[in-house]
């Protein structure tokens, strides 16, 4: 059971990591937020995304050890990266919460202003 929880945690952090990194690209951020000329806050999101991807690796290493864990990380990162690309293609709004969570004050204000209009 604990193994399954760790697998879910690793997959979730891989997915969230790639989603945050995708939001550093204007075309994806605009698709997700629906706001034109959004500020992708590249540096902050790149740091957050990278930390989440590293977390994915750490969790797989804890779960399966060095040999199996690193292999699992490679597969999970590939699977979650593809999943983010598919989400952006078919359900970009599903990433809105991640965009809000990683948004700084200015982007949140811009979002609210956009909604008010």
């Amino acid at each position: 059971m604990f193994d399954i929880l760790l697998l879910i945690l690793a997959a979730a952090s891989g997915y969230a990591g790639f989603a945050v990194l995708a939001l550093t690209q204007k075309q994806h951020l605009e698709k997700v937020t629906g706001v034109r000329r959004s500020n992708p806050q590249t540096l902050w999101r790149r740091i957050a995304g990278s930390i989440l991807l590293i977390l994915c690796l750490v969790v797989t290493l804890v779960r399966d050890g060095a040999a199996f864990g690193s292999l699992l990380a490679v597969f999970l990162l590939a699977a979650t990266g593809i999943a983010v690309a598919f989400t952006l293609a078919w359900q970009p709004a599903a990433l809105r919460r991640i965009s809000l969570l990683t948004a700084t004050g200015s982007e949140k204000t811009a979002k609210k202003t956009n909604e008010n209009f």
């Binding site: 790639f18 990194l21 690209q25 040999a67 999970l76 990162l77 590939a78 690309a85």
Partner: protein
């Protein structure tokens, strides 16, 4: 680089797809074996002694064989797998022994997953002058070239890292999917292609044997793989030491792990000896730990552990063979393998769709030929595989050369799919007709295979869970999954074709009305 990537892909894409498809299925070859060899669908792994079950079985079917090979039961293969070279026919025979009762299971004659699907992905069953190995080696090398050239020509690799546009035109969306599967699965594809070449280094780089060992294969095998040899004395021996006791002795010598393979050399002869190999189910590296015992005194004759360089080779081999007990990784390998199939198929699709109009306009045959090759080598091999499954359920057990008949069905069906793809008329407005029809055939064949399994064995998708036959549930689920994906693709392609036809009809009506 663009030219190299395009033409290397078009020329060897068919072989690569066959390798990837069969390699992907090989990840679950033991489970496919259970599906195709119903007698081995056993529910528990018992503890019947080797001396009272396997040894008598060998004495009954192969008393004069040069070796008795025994693979011990595991979670994936819940039976003793015994094999020997029949001195009468000079062919290897594989049988199974029930580990709960010690009874020799009936010979079902099928090559199934481990005998047909697995070897197909590395030698295509073309044994003449090892041509299959060389063709696969060339394709593996080409895969490496394709991956490197693909990264170089993909100039927007970071910009398009998350880009997939299914709503755009077919060439655009297929290129996006080609890029996504290529980029994200690059480490997997690179590792598979490279490790495949490294596994067969003895064939592709024979200098590794000829240079340091002067071409002496036996010296090479002893130094690298620890193969110990002792000639037969050609006189009868006494009573053999217990095989179970020797297996336990080997574990004590290693101080860890458990045996997975036991081989009796020259059984019955005064110089008989027993080889015991350690399991690699708990590690990526396929260790070469083995101990050789005298069959009558139990004295340790030779013990081997791989040297560091060989251990690296065995680690790389382990990455490719997926022999470890890790179900999460096993499924990951399977889906990554399917990703490889998508990569190759979308590469073909992009080539076709970006050239179709030009080739039709200029009356060139390129698209026509490549389309037929693409259809035959993608959907065609899937249909042939399903034909192989269906033949297994329809050809009665007991027919001599049953396995060969199943293989013949595979090749005949595959040939027919190429013929169909070549003969199917392609019109600009009703393109992908062959794809659509073969996708529907996949759906029908997959459902038929599941139904035939139910009809002939009584095991179905639902009761397999209740009886703990997860391998049957898994194989049936996989087949039904193919059926769903194939039917969905067929409907989707049909709709596109219909809308294109309607569009073309509307355009012609407008042109006629306006007198153009």
């Amino acid at each position: 680089m663009n030219l190299l990537h395009t033409w290397a892909g078009v020329i060897l894409g068919s072989v690569l797809f066959a390798m990837f498809w069969m390699g992907t299925l090989s990840v679950f070859d033991r489970e496919i074996d259970r599906w195709m060899l119903p007698a081995t669908r056993l529910s528990a792994t018992g503890n019947v002694s080797l001396d009272t079950s396997v040894k008598p079985a060998f004495e009954k079917v192969a008393p004069n064989a040069e070796t008795w090979n025994i693979v011990l039961p595991t979670e994936r293969v819940p039976a003793y797998r015994i094999s020997y070279k029949d001195p009468a026919t000079d062919k290897f025979v594989t049988r199974y022994v029930n580990p709960n009762t010690g009874e020799l299971l009936p010979d079902e004659g099928s090559y199934a997953g481990t005998g047909f699907i697995f070897p197909f992905h590395f030698n295509l069953h073309l044994k003449w002058y090892d041509i299959g190995y060389w063709l696969v080696g060339l394709a593996g090398m080409t895969m490496l070239v394709l991956l490197v050239s693909g990264v170089i020509i993909h100039r927007r690799i970071f910009v398009d890292f998350f880009t997939f546009r299914p709503q755009k035109t077919l060439p655009r969306s297929s290129l996006d999917l080609h890029n996504i599967t290529g980029v994200y699965l690059l480490p997997f594809h690179f590792t598979m292609a490279l490790s495949g070449l490294i596994i067969f280094f003895g064939i592709y780089f024979p200098v590794s044997i000829t240079a340091p060992f002067g071409g002496e294969r036996a010296a090479f095998n002893k130094e690298v793989y620890g193969q110990y040899k002792r000639d037969a004395a050609n006189k009868a021996g006494g009573e053999m030491v217990s095989l179970n006791a020797l297996a336990a002795r080997a574990v004590a010598e290693w101080g860890k792990g458990k045996p997975y393979f036991i081989r009796v050399w020259h059984p019955g002869d005064a110089n008989a000896y027993v080889e015991v190999r350690r399991s690699y189910a708990q590690d990526v590296t396929m260790n070469l730990d083995q101990v050789y015992f005298d069959a009558y005194t139990g004295e340790t004759l030779y013990r081997h552990e791989a040297a560091p360089v060989v251990t690296v080779q065995r680690f790389i081999s382990g990455l490719h063979f997926v022999q470890f007990d890790n179900w999460t990784l096993r499924f990951m390998y399977f889906f990554a393998g399917l990703g490889g199939c998508v990569l190759i198929a979308t590469g073909f699709l992009y080539w076709l769709e970006s050239r179709r109009k030009k080739h039709i306009r200029e009356k060139l045959r390129g698209v026509r030929v490549v389309e037929a090759l693409t259809v035959g080598s993608t959907t065609g091999i899937i249909i042939a595989t399903l034909g192989f499954f269906i033949a297994n359920r329809l050809i009665p057990v007991g027919i001599a050369t049953r396995g060969e008949w199943e293989m013949l069905v595979f090749y005949l069906v595959w040939l027919l799919t190429f013929v169909h793809a070549f003969l199917r008329p392609t019109r600009q407005t009703n393109r992908r007709g062959a794809f659509i029809e073969q996708a529907w055939t996949i759906a029908a064949f997959a459902v038929a295979a599941v139904g035939l399994n139910w009809a002939t064995t009584g095991d179905n998708f639902i009761n397999a869970v209740a009886t703990n036959k997860w391998e049957i549930y898994g194989t049936d689920a996989m087949l039904l999954g193919w059926a769903i994906v194939a039917a969905w693709s067929a409907v989707k392609m049909q709709r596109t074709a219909t809308s294109k036809t309607a569009e073309a009809f509307q355009t012609s009506v407008i042109q006629e009305a306006s007198g153009v």
